[in-house]
C-alpha cells in the first residue's frame, strides 16, 4: 500500500510538487500522467525515499518514508527514470550486488535471481558489461533490479520509455502479471499504456494533482465521449443534415482523414439517430463508430487549463 498526504516539494522558489494526496491499494496499478516537468518523477523520488518531502507525509506499506525510511525501502522496488545502473558491471554482477545489499541469501537468493533472469530474458547477456547493452536490455536490467526481492510495492518511472513496440508489450505484460498482489505505480506519457495496464490514473501538472479516476472515467470527460464518427464520400451534405438533428450539438470534419464526427448534447445518446438519419437519406457511409472518448484530448484540456477534473457526482450537479 502507498499513501501520500499533502505531499509538497519545493526547490528554491519553485513548487515542484504541490499538495499531492492519493492512496494506492494492493492489486491496483496507478498510472501517473502529466507533461514533462510536471512533478511525476519528484513525487516518485519522495515515495522511494530518495528525496525528503518539504512538507506532508508519505508511507509505503505503513512505514513512513522519512522516519522509517529503511523499512519502507525494504518493501519497495524502484526503477528510477532512465533505469540507471553501473555501466561497467555485468547484469549478473549488478543483480548479485542488489541481492547483497538487500540481504538475500541461500535458496531464496538463487530462486529470485533465476526468476528475474527468466522473466526479463536476460540469460543471453549475463556476462556483457551493461554499458554495451541496447536500451531495451538496460531497461530490463533496471526492472530486474526493482523486482529482485519480490517487493510488495513497485514504483516504476517510465518503464517503457524508449523501448520498441515489442519490448513495450513485454514490459506491460510483466507489469500485468505482477499486478494481482502488488501495489504498483508507473509514470508514463504514453496514453495507450494507461488503458493497457492501469486500473487508475492520476494527472499531475505543474506539481498539482488534477485528476484521480479510472481510465474510463477520464474518457467520459472527453467531448468525444458518446460522439459518433464515420467516413462518407459526401461529407459536406452529411454534415449539413446531421447538425440539424436533435441532440447533436456539433459536427466536425477532420482535416486530415476527412472523417466526420457528430458530438452529442450533454448526456444524450445519438448513435441510433445518426445511423437512422444516414439510412433514411440514403447517404453512403462506412466505419460508423461510437467513440469512448479520447484520453489524449482529456489529458490536454486538463493539463492546459490547470483546473482540477470534476468527479462524476460534481458533473451531475
Amino acid at each position: 500500500m502507498i499513501e501520500a498526504q499533502r505531499l509538497c516539494k519545493q526547490y528554491g522558489g519553485l513548487m515542484a510538487v504541490n499538495d499531492v494526496s492519493f492512496r494506492v491499494e494492493p492489486g491496483q496499478v496507478l498510472g501517473f500522467l502529466g507533461p514533462n516537468g510536471a512533478g511525476k518523477s519528484t513525487t516518485m523520488k519522495m515515495l522511494a525515499g530518495f528525496l525528503a518531502p518539504s512538507s506532508g507525509r508519505a508511507a509505503v506499506c505503513g512505514h513512513d518514508v522519512v522516519s522509517d525510511s529503511i523499512a519502507a525501502r525494504r518493501c519497495l522496488g524502484y526503477l528510477p527514470e532512465g533505469a540507471p545502473s553501473y555501466g561497467e558491471m555485468t547484469p549478473l554482477g549488478f543483480l548479485e550486488f542488489i541481492a547483497d545489499v538487500r540481504g538475500l541469501s541461500g535458496d531464496l537468493r538463487k530462486r529470485r535471481l533465476a526468476d528475474v533472469l527468466g522473466r526479463l530474458h536476460l540469460d543471453t547477456v549475463l556476462e556483457q558489461p551493461i554499458e554495451t547493452l541496447s536500451k531495451g536490455f538496460k531497461r530490463r536490467v533496471g526492472l530486474a533490479q526493482a523486482i529482485l526481492h519480490d517487493p510488495e510495492v513497485l514504483i516504476l518511472d517510465e518503464p517503457t520509455d524508449g523501448l520498441d513496440p515489442n519490448q513495450k508489450h513485454e514490459v506491460r505484460e510483466l507489469i500485468q502479471s505482477m499486478a494481482a498482489d502488488k501495489t504498483i505505480i508507473i509514470s508514463t506519457h504514453i496514453l495507450e499504456e494507461v488503458h493497457a495496464v492501469c486500473s487508475r490514473a492520476v494527472i499531475i501538472a505543474k506539481g498539482r494533482l488534477l485528476a484521480d479516476a479510472t481510465p474510463a472515467e477520464l474518457e467520459r470527460r472527453s467531448r468525444y465521449h458518446g460522439a459518433v464518427s464515420l467516413t462518407t464520400p459526401d461529407a459536406v451534405a452529411a454534415k449539413e443534415g446531421l447538425s440539424r438533428l436533435a441532440d447533436v450539438s456539433a459536427v466536425e470534419i477532420d482535416a486530415q482523414d476527412g472523417r466526420l464526427t457528430a458530438f452529442p448534447s450533454a448526456g444524450k445518446q445519438i448513435f441510433d439517430s445518426v445511423s437512422g438519419y444516414l439510412r433514411e437519406q440514403g447517404i453512403g457511409f462506412s466505419e460508423l463508430q461510437l467513440e469512448q472518448g479520447r484520453l489524449d484530448e482529456v489529458f490536454r484540456s486538463i493539463t492546459r487549463s490547470g483546473e482540477p477534473l470534476l468527479t462524476d457526482a460534481e458533473v451531475a450537479r
Binding site: F50, R73, P84, M89, A99, D100, R102, S105
Partner: protein
Amino acid sequence: MSAASKSGSPVLAVFRRELASYFATPVAYVFIVIFLVLSGAFTFYLGGFYQRGQADLQPFFNFHPWLYLFLVPAVSMRLWSEERKSGSIELLLSLPITMWQAVLGKFLAAWAFIGIALALTFPIWLTVNYLGDPDNGVIFASYLGSLLMAGSFLAIGACLSAASRNQVVAFILTVAVCFVLLLAGFPMVQDVFRAVAPAALADAVAQFSFLTHFAAIAKGVLDLRDVLFFVLSIGFWLLACSVVIDLKKAD
C-alpha cells in the same frame, strides 16, 4: 555463498562492488603502474636512495605526500560525481541502506584500492632489507602513516566529489584543499593566515598540517595523537560528504 550475502551487510556489499569497479576499467592498472613508477623514480633520483648510504626508507616516504597530492584526487574525483552524473546515486540511495553506510562503503573501497597500490611497493622494502639492516618497526609505522594520510586525502576528495557533478572540478578542488592542508604549518600557508586572521587562529590552522603529523609518524614515532588526527580528519570529511550529498542530490 559470499560473506556479504550471508551477513547481509550493506557496507560490505557497496565496498565489494566499488572495489571491483576499479579493476573493471583500466583506471586501476594505470593508477598502480604510475604510482609505482613515480614512487620509484622519486626515491632513487630525487631522494638519493643509494647515495645516502643509510638502510632506511626515508627518501621513499618523503615523497608520498606529493605523490598523493595528485594521484589520490584522481581516484576520489569519480567517487560521487560519477554516481550523480549517471543517476545511479538515485538507485543506490533508494536501496535499504543508510547514507552513512553508502559513504563508508565507497570510501573504504577507494582506501583499500590505494592500500593495494601501496602494498605493491613491497620490493623497495625487500631491497632495503637486502642491502642493510633497517629498523622494520619504523618502516611499518611509515607505511601506516602513509596509508592514513592517503585516507585523509581520499575523504576530502570524496566530499568535494559529492559537491560537483564534474570530475575535473572535483579533481582541482581536491588538489587545492589538500595542498593547503598539507602545508598548513608552513610559511606559504601560514603567512596568508597571519595576514588576515588573529595569531591564535593561524596557530590553530598550523595544528591541522598533514605534513607535520605525517612526518612524526614517518620518523617511526607512532604517537596516538597523530593517528587520531588522521582518523578524525577522515571522520570529519566523510560526515561533510554525507551532508553535501544530502544537500545536492535534489539537483
